[in-house]
């Protein structure tokens, strides 16, 4: 979706405010929210792309103004609502008025010691042949859709060079709709001046990890 979350290249957000050192969580509730997200017994059909797509649909004013972990809260609340696991009234009161069945019991404190080592991987076996190879010139597609995608607006229509191939990874556009489909994933380098012509081209490059469906071949000139 073309939404407020797609911030690359946008103007008007002012200077970056570096911080030398800051606590991992500014407020206790932020750490609790992180803990809830890591510890919750989740339906099998939730995944990271559904989470991201849910967050992207926060009203733009809220996306830009709410604290980061409050956006996590809003997204998980929306997912609980959408899965029929909680009602808005329950979320408001903190009291359960209907019980949930069909989900595994949640992890215990003791189990966290093992589960912290779990690593999610997104590469999958792929029977087909990759369409592109390292050093190929490609163009990022202009095609957009209203669902979740990881092709940022600022790259669309621009040409770059494939610099790495990573095998097939689960496609976010599909995964966010509950379809676990893998496709070749490439790292593509774009000259900064190709993406943003006002920038003097002195060799700086922006690299994006892009799925095959986001790319079109460019005939050698």
């Amino acid at each position: 979706m073309d939404g407020i979350h797609d911030l690359g290249g946008e103007h008007g957000f002012g200077l970056v405010k570096p911080t030398a050192d800051e606590p991992p969580f500014k407020h206790d509730w932020e750490g609790r929210m992180l803990g809830i997200v890591r510890a919750i017994s989740r339906p099998r059909d939730w995944n990271v792309d559904k989470f991201r797509f849910t967050r992207e649909q926060l009203p733009p004013v809220e996306y830009l103004t709410r604290p980061y972990f409050d956006q996590w809260y809003r997204s998980y609340a929306a997912m609980l609502l959408g899965s029929g696991l909680a009602t808005a009234e329950e979320l408001a009161s903190g009291r359960s008025t209907h019980s949930v069945t069909g989900l595994a019991r949640p992890m215990s404190a003791a189990e966290v010691a093992t589960l912290r080592t779990a690593t999610a991987r997104f590469d999958r076996d792929y029977p087909g042949q990759p369409r592109f190879a390292v050093a190929d010139k490609v163009r990022a597609s202009l095609t957009a859709h209203s669902g979740h995608t990881r092709l940022p607006r600022y790259a669309r229509g621009h040409a770059g060079i494939v610099v790495a191939f990573h095998g097939a990874h689960v496609v976010p556009d599909e995964n966010s709709q509950g379809r676990s489909i893998a496709e070749p994933l490439y790292t593509v380098a774009f000259a900064l001046g190709e993406l943003f012509p006002e920038q003097t081209d002195i060799g700086d490059k922006v690299h994006l990890d892009l799925w095959e469906r986001y790319l079109e071949p460019v005939a050698p000139s």
Partner: protein, 216 residues
């Protein structure tokens, strides 16, 4: 329980907004109580995760990786080839967002800068929680458009003969910058080296590390 279709998330957001308390601390407290009552979460497990990412996992983990790579060229080669496997050699166990870890090396000619323009992807297992500016609009919008101006705001002034490689984390690969080893650190132990490696140098918003060792 019904299948979750995020196409309707905007409506869910509206419904939640009109119901829940306005104070985020109260909202999260109500959420935890509700989930405990429904048997979907164990408060002890929340405590355990919070403790891990507040007290145990942070930039010090990534600093150990950098220090080893500086002191061991064979390790550095393995790290650059496959970050996910190489960090396990050091006994680094935390797996959050390091399943496809790509380490990119700074040199005299190249400076690397990591961003996530679409959300705030970050290699949590080696760097812990991300700094606030990394998640804010100014950094996410500008790092890919005017990287040298952004770097200057961090005090990094790059000469034009140094190329900037920006890495926008659009897939599940996560990027960690291997900063350059400062001169004057020959013969230092790994602990001494790790003590000078900063969070920002592994994101790429710092380039020249000071050689005032605090480790031992």
């Amino acid at each position: 329980m019904t299948a979750y279709d995020p196409k309707h998330a905007a409506e869910h957001h509206d419904e939640i907004h009109s119901h829940v308390p306005s104070d985020p601390a109260l909202r999260v407290k109500a959420l935890e109580s509700l989930l405990v009552e429904k048997g979907l979460v164990d408060s002890g497990a929340i405590d355990a995760w919070l403790e891990i990412y507040r007290d145990q996992v942070g930039p010090k983990v990534g600093a150990r990786v950098v220090a080893r790579a500086w002191n061991d060229v064979a390790y550095k080669a393995r790290l650059l080839a496959d970050g996910t496997t190489a960090i396990k050699e050091l006994g680094i166990q935390d797996g959050w967002a390091v399943g496809h870890l790509k380490v990119v090396e700074n040199t005299d000619q190249v400076h690397n800068l990591v961003v996530c323009t679409l959300c705030s992807c970050y290699p949590h297992g080696v760097l812990g929680m991300s700094p606030s500016w990394y998640k804010k609009e100014a950094y996410r919008s500008r790092a890919v458009r005017e990287p040298r101006a952004v770097l200057a705001e961090f005090g990094v002034k790059l000469p034009t003969h140094v190329t900037v490689n920006i890495w926008d984390s659009t897939a599940e690969l996560r990027y960690l910058v291997l900063p350059q080893r400062p001169s004057g650190t020959e013969g230092w132990t790994e602990n001494q080296l790790a003590a000078i490696v900063t969070r920002d140098s592994m994101i790429g918003t710092e380039r020249e590390l000071p050689t005032t060792s605090t480790g031992g």
